[in-house]
Symmetry: C2
Subunit: 103 residues, 2 copies
């Protein structure tokens, strides 16, 4: 796939990350550069909106994500990234970031 078409509407695209069993781990944003690095290195790279820089998930914690597959959605404005998660995805130590029950 030509990844340029994913960034026609916006420079940033939300990326849903699941493990290879399908557990939803986290959501973060990618720009074209971080998606390119993700594809090249087979590890997840995101763009931090607050720090305005790329970050490699697990670079400091060791909790890296090895990329198995990436899909885009029907209108090419959201990504689904399937990974093999080392350790926990969440900085709190929880395996998944989605642990606050709303209902």
């Amino acid at each position: 796939m030509d990844i340029d078409k994913l960034f026609t509407k916006s420079d940033l695209i939300p990326a849903i990350v699941t493990d290879t069993d399908g557990v939803v781990l986290m959501m973060a944003y990618m720009n074209k550069e971080s998606l390119t690095k993700t594809i090249e290195t087979r590890q997840t790279w995101f763009f931090s909106r607050s720090r305005n820089e790329l970050w490699n998930k697990g670079a400091t914690s060791g909790h890296i994500q090895e990329v198995a597959e990436i899909y885009s959605d029907c209108d090419d404005d959201t990504l689904l990234v399937k990974v093999k998660q080392t350790g926990s995805a969440c900085h709190t130590g929880e395996y998944s970031c989605f642990f606050n029950k709303v209902i």
Copy 2:
């Protein structure tokens, strides 16, 4: 949970929708009103950024989503909505919107 805290950073929050087996179906945005309606009706309501209005998933297609559980993430700025999907989640007829393989 007091849902007000989900909308302190932004009026819109991304909502990842999976079925109750964990298959990622789609991603759309909720504002406080659509999340409130989702909780009250136990069907998914989203906010359309292009049409600037609320929409009830399945209202025209019949492909409604019955809400089983909702979680927020560690920093309360993304939702995970687990649903029982009637028919297909994607307007193309695919069960999930994530069918374009990037890698």
